[in-house]
């Protein structure tokens, strides 16, 4: 689990999708999300589905790996489906038993909303599966850097993301250690009412915060000792470069929105 956080879900193979510039992937993920929201009717999702299958195939990420990214959302998915299915009462009734009824509108809503959710998760996971976090932060920094002119701290934001990613496993490990130490002294984190459990967290959170501040102080010294002085005049280890593949990706993904709208009209 610790490993999952720092390296993200990154799945290290070489593929045309992996080779895309991270900026391309960030922008196109946004385009893709927009396309998903443009989908109307079940047919409207067909282009998105085909597109998704195509890039999954190209990315070389095994399909089971993709399905894993849906796991944390299974509760939400079931909720969305069930709520839509049972609580939309307009349209032709397909099935009725006592007070439960399923209508045609309900069924189509339930399917569409669940599909939308699945498409969103699969599409965004594909980005994190094929892009290491370092490249993602580099990409974000570069995309946001035009905003520096109006005072947006693009470099600082990317730096903060990197440091956060770097320290999450360290702090989790530490929280674990403190929890064990407190448990050994009789603290109980897992039973009792919600308020008593929340109260039990205080002896965990206080030392964790204190140590996080100490770490921050140490890290600031270490960064300064290594000549860190903000984003000005820094050179970069990774240089982002648009290639031909990026252009192709832009064209294909760009077409997704009009095609989706058109397919939606057909029905």
């Amino acid at each position: 689990m610790l490993r999952d956080i720092t390296l993200g879900q990154y799945y290290p193979v070489d593929s045309p999708i992996h080779r895309l510039d991270p900026r391309t992937k960030i922008v196109l993920t946004i385009v893709y999300i927009v396309a998903v929201f443009f989908g109307k009717g079940l047919l409207g999702y067909l282009p998105t589905l085909l597109f998704l299958l195509l890039i999954i195939k190209l990315s070389g990420v095994p399909f089971t790996m993709m399905l894993k990214s849906l796991r944390p959302l299974r509760i939400l998915l079931i909720f969305t489906f069930v709520l839509n299915l049972f609580f939309i009462s307009s349209g032709e009734v397909l099935f009725r038993w006592r007070f439960i009824q399923i209508t045609k509108d309900g069924l189509s809503h339930a399917l569409r909303f669940s599909l939308r959710l699945i498409f969103l998760v699969l599409g965004t996971s594909l980005m994190t599966l094929t892009t290491p976090p370092v490249a993602l932060t580099d990409g974000l920094e570069s995309l946001c850097s035009p905003l520096k002119k109006i005072g947006f701290p693009a470099h600082e934001m990317a730096m903060m993301m990197t440091i956060a990613l770097r320290f999450i496993p360290t702090l989790i490990e530490e929280a674990d250690k403190i929890m064990k130490a407190q448990s050994a002294r009789g603290a109980d984190f897992s039973s009792g009412s919600v308020t008593s459990r929340a109260r039990a967290m205080i002896p965990l959170l206080v030392p964790l915060f204190i140590s996080a501040f100490r770490r921050a102080g140490d890290l600031a010294f270490a960064m300064e000792a290594r000549c860190y002085r903000g984003g000005e005049g820094r050179t970069r280890l990774h240089i982002l470069k648009f290639r031909k593949g990026d252009a192709v990706a832009f064209v294909i993904t760009g077409l997704l929105i009009p095609v989706t709208i058109f397919a939606g009209r057909l029905l």
Partner: protein, 284 residues
């Protein structure tokens, strides 16, 4: 031939804001190029403060610090001073910035504006120097403490410093990691002539250096070769430090009338001495 000075402190004193006394007091010190100097001292004696004064993280309250002739107070030289005298800190977790070893070593290079084309080579060279090249694509939190410290050292080495100041870098490591890191630094000193200031509270490490300084209440109270310093057990104890166990054993054996060298410092030396004595006895 007179040796060149790498680091020079002149009547250096430092007081933390709001603190009563000085954390570093009247330090006059010259560290020669290519030397390996250990700084000892009990908790709160001012060792870490001294380390931060050397590369200009703190500026002197009184006196001056020179790194290769550059005054740390001269703002023009701030970054040259830090690139020339690199500091590695105690806690390996709190000085690694990036999520991949390679990117972390690149951090300092990016800061000092090393051209992109030279980075790969310098990163590989630095990781090779600390014997961590195999871990170049790893996540730092998956490494052992000793490995993390070596990555931190590589991060400094990539900037091609003339001096390394290491502030208790082995104190949070297990014995294996400790030896790993100490041997690495000792090798960088011997093979590449890097000036080393090694702050520690392990006597065994002090025993292996060229020069030992003992700090007490911000002042330097003892200064000499390990043998000179450790021979003076009473003075050390009065500064709340212990003589290395093997030195103590040798001194005790001599006191009990056993014929053995008195200036033994390490287990190795003791072993050699005992084996030599034993062979001599067998022949008789």
């Amino acid at each position: 031939m007179k040796k060149q000075a790498e680091l020079r402190m002149e009547n250096l004193s430092f007081k933390y804001e709001g603190a009563e006394g000085f954390a570093v007091k009247n330090v006059d010190l010259t560290i020669e190029k290519g030397s390996f100097t250990t700084v000892l001292g009990h908790n709160g004696s001012g060792k870490s403060t001294l380390a931060k004064l050397i590369n200009g993280l703190f500026l002197p309250t009184q006196g001056k610090v020179f790194v290769d002739g550059m005054d740390t107070q001269d703002e023009q030289h701030t970054w040259d001073v830090r690139a020339r005298a690199g500091v590695v800190f105690q806690n390996p977790d709190n000085q690694i910035v990036a999520t991949v070893v390679k990117d972390d070593v690149a951090f300092g290079l990016e800061n000092i504006g090393v051209p992109h084309e030279q980075m790969e080579a310098r990163i590989e060279e630095a990781l090779g120097a600390v014997d961590m090249l195999d871990f170049i694509d790893r996540a730092p939190h998956m490494l052992s403490g000793g490995q993390k410290q070596r990555v931190a050292i590589a991060g400094i080495m990539a900037m091609k410093p003339a001096a390394l100041i290491l502030d208790e870098v082995t104190s949070m490591l297990d014995p294996k990691g400790r030896k790993e890191v100490f041997d690495t630094v000792r090798r960088l000193n011997k093979q590449r002539g890097i000036t080393v200031v090694w702050i520690t509270h392990f006597m065994e490490e002090a025993a292996l250096s060229d020069r030992v300084l003992v700090m007490h209440r911000g002042e330097i109270r003892m200064d000499g070769t390990p043998r000179e310093v450790f021979a003076n057990g009473d003075a050390l104890r009065s500064l709340r430090l212990d003589v290395p166990p093997m030195a103590l054993l040798a001194q005790e054996l001599v006191r009990r009338g056993i014929d053995i060298r008195e200036d033994i410092l390490s287990l190795d030396e003791m072993e050699r001495e005992v084996v030599a004595k034993w062979r001599l006895n067998c022949k008789m």
